[in-house]
Symmetry: none
Subunit: 527 residues, 2 copies
């Protein structure tokens, strides 16, 4: 049994182009919890005020399996933990577990901390001990452990012993600069394992492109916790990629990391996190990339048909991926059906599912992505049901943004919609074009559908799909909406960002109207 | 001394989205030759007629160091090599070396080749022997070697012995399906090395995200040739990435692969190949990614200035990369100064740096983010210098998007700008509002600044910053632009997505004009 410790929300956000809002972080954390991840490091409250909000919200959530952890450094040199702002921030986060990092490498103790080797041991021990006294479980992250060990093995072991004396339940050996190679990790972890009778963890970075192999080597040498991030996001070249480590350990080395029934959601998890982070999923990623089981050559394909394992290292379904030469109509249909069940949608005939599936495939080839826009997928399925009638129909819209010297920016939108026999033509003003369209739409619809007043757009994300086509490329817009009780996500795609936004907005309203009634906005008719 | 065998032009082109012309392949091959690569596998003449052309052209070139190799399979079952079309194609390619692959795995012999185990040994031996008789050096690639070895070690060794009897100068152990893990590679290569007295090579794929580590393990266990591709391009999850393996072997394990003076060109080589293949370089790649030595946190940065090796695993200059600092709200003055140095900006007084830093912090609190928009940060610093004059000034703009039944979508923009004393008022049409603004701006500016015709928007990203404020929240837009020589990124933030896009667009053009001159768009005045 290997503990999985996810640090996507902390170390993962050190990646250059990631910036997650508090609600993004909560969505990711809840998904990780559902997957059966053991620890979720939510942030570094002492360094980042945004993380404080996350911990406040996280404290209100009932977590199914995961323990939320807060990350922070030991107390300052020449000071005590009881009046250290960073340690206080850890306590204020209210998490059951605190992860404290300290210095292992004498170079860092002397040149960066500018203190003595014994003083470093003191702050490690006392910081851990103080958090233990306050009732917290403590994991100790030994920063730069491998670099430190290569220079002065005995001192690095002393830092671990200090953490153990303080009451740390586990010490984690960190390859902070990411330069270690597997044979070194293997040898050093083995030595530490012999010296210390305490559970060990590994925290690797990918600067030598060996983060996954280093994590595996560490487990084989005695570590029982692996720290990493989804998709390997992280500073510089990234952290150890849990989307590879988990299947490597579980499918190939026989360690249990996640419940098997959850492992099949790994592909979805990877794509979900990429979507929330607003990053293009890496198609070529091991296990969970869209191309990971894609076969190009004809000979390959016929050989595959004779003997599927002849050209693939695992069955892709084990991680929720699929082989992509043979487009599996059945698995696709299965996906849609189970999704419909999940959303409580009655599906009458299998024909409408096949039609919906074909339309989804067609739209995805145009740039739509339904992975993080389940409401649009469900609407699409609904529209293939003979008894479904859309609550409104768009005739025209227009939107204008003007920037005039002295007057500033004026943004207006016009919409013309049909509700039954009635045509409504109205206009609205907003801070931006999507806001103006939203305002105009609400004006047009609110008399007939008063529950629309409860719908709030909470996020939208935009991605240009083919950079090489520059501003003429397809733009994909994802919109999140909520009504105070539920939230849903919709998608639009077009070469025009306004039109893509419009599609996602119209879906958002249509789905909201489909699933809530006028009388009781909270009741979900079909979701 | 480890031989580097590059298969970017053959196995690398199996990647889903790569298609190289003959002249692309020749350019890459010549660059690899200059780097000091030992073998360049040019293609598979028996399977791809386009590759035949490559070998014809390659035969005319004087190669400085590299040997060009042609790749192909053994002759067919129940046939001889002398009248086998594939073997003939190898000979016709005229290369000094042929690389022949054959089956190692009994599953493949029986289920895919549909022949007997002895017949497979015969075609291996005779194919190699025939090519040797025709005066070619032969490398034997043992396909699926590791999977085969795990099932029937003795038979896989027999296939290698057959190749050796035929006269192969080296046998290469291929992890064709990419599923092997380092400890297996290490054990199996060691066993083969004990059994056979012949030079060994390794050919790994990245399906377990261990291709680099597997290659290193193989070298440590006795392989003296590594096959791989630049940037790890290849089918499914890619081949072993030479851009990581070479520095891992050379800088960390003390093996010589390339002349040291060539290793410093690795960064350029990686970007050159990406450029020719028309793929965005992977910023997060080990060693050669633009973010591989990028540091985000302010504490990190000040520590780096004290002791550069405290937070980096090698000196980035060894592979031609450089340390960079991510400018963000966490930045100190050190970040800005390092950044200005990196961009070659002369900074006169520390006062202007402090002012720029304060403005960055102020703007970041409004939603800007300079982490991924260094051009905007540098413009901001520039604007605090007394001698700076902006090339143009915006007076007004407007943009409208109309969706009309029957007519579809019409998108138009108007801009009014001042250049010196002149006011230009014009309009443009586009696929979307940013495109229309871009078109109108170009029309307004191109007469005065012809180099603007070289600027191309390559990506933009949009982010809503405070979900709770819904459509009234701040929108942040990041735009990437390039001019064929350089690329730069700019940022805008506003409650209005169009205005945010406008700001990023205007910065993109202003920065482009500041750093390129009319006469020579490639010359960077300040970057």
């Amino acid at each position: 049994m290997i503990q999985i410790y996810d640090t996507t929300l902390r170390d993962g956000t050190q990646r250059k182009d990631i910036s997650l809002s508090c609600s993004d972080k909560l969505r990711i954390a809840q998904r990780l919890d559902e997957m059966g991840v053991d620890f979720i490091e939510g942030g570094w409250p002492g360094s980042n005020p945004k993380d404080v909000e996350f911990f406040q919200e996280a404290a209100k959530i009932h977590w199914k399996h995961a323990l939320i952890t807060a990350f922070g450094s030991t107390c300052r040199v020449n000071g005590g933990p009881q009046d250290d702002a960073n340690i206080q921030a850890l306590l204020d986060s209210g998490t059951p577990v605190c992860t404290v990092f300290g210095k292992s490498w004498t170079l860092h103790v002397v040149d960066v901390l500018r203190t003595t080797l014994p003083e470093n041991l003191r702050i490690i021990e006392q910081s851990v001990a103080y958090l233990r006294e306050q009732g917290r479980r403590v994991i100790y992250d030994a920063e730069h452990f491998f670099d430190g060990y290569k220079e002065n093995p005995e001192y690095t072991l002393d830092t671990l012993r200090a953490a153990v004396r303080g009451g740390a339940e586990r010490v984690v050996l960190c390859d902070t600069n990411g330069g270690a190679l597997p044979h070194e990790v293997s040898a050093i972890v083995s030595q530490v394992h012999q010296e210390l009778d305490i559970p060990l963890g590994i925290h690797a970075h990918n600067d030598s492109e060996c983060a996954v192999a280093n994590s595996l080597a560490a487990v084989q040498a005695g570590c029982t916790q692996v720290q990493g991030t989804i998709n390997g996001y992280g500073e510089r070249c990234g952290n150890a990629n849990l989307c590879s480590i988990i299947p490597d350990l579980q499918l190939k080395l026989g360690y249990e990391c996640l419940p098997s029934v959850k492992l099949v959601e790994l592909y979805d998890l990877s794509h979900f996190v990429a979507e929330i982070a607003n990053l293009a999923p890496d198609e070529y990623q091991a296990y969970v990339g869209q191309a990971a089981f894609a076969h190009k050559g004809g000979v390959h394909v016929s050989a595959m048909r004779r003997s599927p394992l002849s050209y693939q290292h695992i069955e892709p379904e084990l991680v929720g991926n699929e082989m992509s030469v043979v487009v599996s109509e059945l698995s696709g249909k299965g996906n849609i059906l189970s999704k419909a069940e999940e959303y409580g949608l009655a599906v009458n005939g299998s024909e409408e599912v096949v039609e919906a599936l074909n339309q989804i495939k067609e739209l995805e080839s145009q740039g739509f992505s339904f992975e993080a826009a389940e409401a649009s997928a469900m609407l699409l399925l609904k529209r293939h049901q003979p008894d479904y009638r859309a609550p409104f129909e768009l005739i025209d819209y227009s939107v204008s943004v003007e920037h005039r010297q002295q007057r500033g920016i004026i943004t207006e939108a016009m919409v013309k919609v049909r509700i039954g026999e009635k045509v409504i033509h109205t206009a609205g003003e907003g801070c931006g074009p999507v806001h103006a369209l939203d305002v105009a739409m609400r004006k047009a619809l609110v008399d007939d559908f008063p529950q629309i007043a409860q719908f709030h757009l909470t996020d939208f994300k935009v991605r240009i799909l083919n950079g090489a086509l520059a501003t003429e490329a397809i733009t994909r817009v994802l919109i999140d909406t909520q009504n105070g009780y539920h939230s849903w996500s919709t998608v639009g795609a077009s070469p025009n960002i306004i039109d893509a936004s419009w599609q996602a907005l119209a879906d958002s309203i249509e789905y909201g109207l489909m699933t809530t009634t006028e009388e009781d906005p909270a009741e979900q008719v079909a979701a």
